[in-house]
Amino acid sequence: MNGWSALDHFLRTDPRDVGCDQAMEMLHVYAELVASGEPADQRYPGITAHLHACGPCGEDFEGLLAAIRGGAY
C-alpha cells in the first residue's frame, strides 16, 4: 500500500463498527468461533469491522486466538 491508498484505508470508517467495549465484551466468543473455523464475521460483522480498524483490540484478538490455538484448553 502506498501513501495514497494507506491514507484512504486508514480514514475509511465502517458504520457497522461496534467500538472497543462491545468487541471486547464478546471477544472470547468471537475468538472461539474463529478458532473452530466458524464464520464469525457473518455472525458478528460489527466485531469483525472493529477488529480490522482498531489496532489494540486487533492485537488482543490475535493474542487470545494464539492462546486458544496454543493447545491451552
Binding site: L11, G19, A53
Partner: protein, 178 residues
C-alpha cells in the same frame, strides 16, 4: 496456567516491544496476578458462551495489554505532545520518489486536521498518527478509556476523509455511508 498464557502473550508481542528479559517476565507475572483478581471478581458474569478457559484467558490478554500501555506511558519514545508533520508521509508509507504527487495530499490533510477537527480530535490524531503513541498509552495519559479514545479517532477519521473527498483528493463514496 494464567502465568503460562501471560508469558506466551508477552513473548508473542516481545519482538515489537523495547522490553526484554526479566522486565518482560515480571510484566507477565504481574499480568497473570491481576488477571486472577479480575477473573475472581467477574466470575459471576461468566455465561457459558465459550469455554471457561477462553473467557479467563481474555483477562490475561487484557492485563498484558494494559501493562504494556503503562510501560510506554512511563518510557515514551517521543514526547506525547510533540508535533512533527514531516513524519506523516512515512507513517502512511508514502514513496519519496512520488513526493510531488503526495505532497499536495498531505498538505490538504494537515489543513483538514487544523480546520475540521475539534481540539480533542486533533490532540488524539496528532498523538496516534504523528507521534506514534500507542492508543492504550494515550488512554492513560488522558485519563480516558480505550473505547472513548477510539470513538474520538473514529469521528476524526470520518471528518478528515469527508474533507479530502470534498476537495477531490480521495474518492467520494459518501453514498456508501463510510
Amino acid at each position: 496456567m494464567l502465568v503460562r498464557i501471560a508469558q506466551g502473550e508477552t513473548a508473542r508481542r516481545g519482538p515489537r516491544l523495547r522490553i526484554t528479559g526479566p522486565e518482560l517476565d515480571d510484566l507477565a507475572y504481574q499480568a497473570a496476578a491481576d488477571a486472577l483478581v479480575a477473573i475472581t471478581g467477574k466470575i459471576g458474569q461468566f455465561r457459558g458462551e465459550s469455554r471457561f478457559t477462553t473467557w479467563a484467558y481474555k483477562f490475561v490478554i487484557f492485563e498484558v495489554s494494559a501493562k504494556i500501555g503503562r510501560h510506554f506511558w512511563r518510557h515514551p519514545a517521543v514526547p506525547l505532545d510533540a508535533e512533527d508533520w514531516d513524519r506523516l508521509p512515512g507513517w502512511f508509507g508514502a514513496d519519496p520518489a512520488r513526493q510531488a504527487e503526495w505532497g499536495d495530499l498531505f498538505a490538504a490533510l494537515r489543513r483538514a486536521v487544523d480546520c475540521e477537527l475539534t481540539p480533542r480530535q486533533r490532540e488524539v490524531f496528532v498523538a496516534i498518527v504523528l507521534n506514534d503513541v500507542p492508543l492504550d498509552t494515550l488512554v492513560l495519559h488522558l485519563g480516558s478509556s480505550r473505547n472513548a479514545i477510539y470513538q474520538v479517532l473514529f469521528a476524526a477519521r470520518r471528518k478528515l476523509r469527508a474533507a479530502l473527498a470534498a476537495n477531490g483528493y480521495l474518492p467520494d463514496d459518501s453514498a456508501r455511508g463510510s
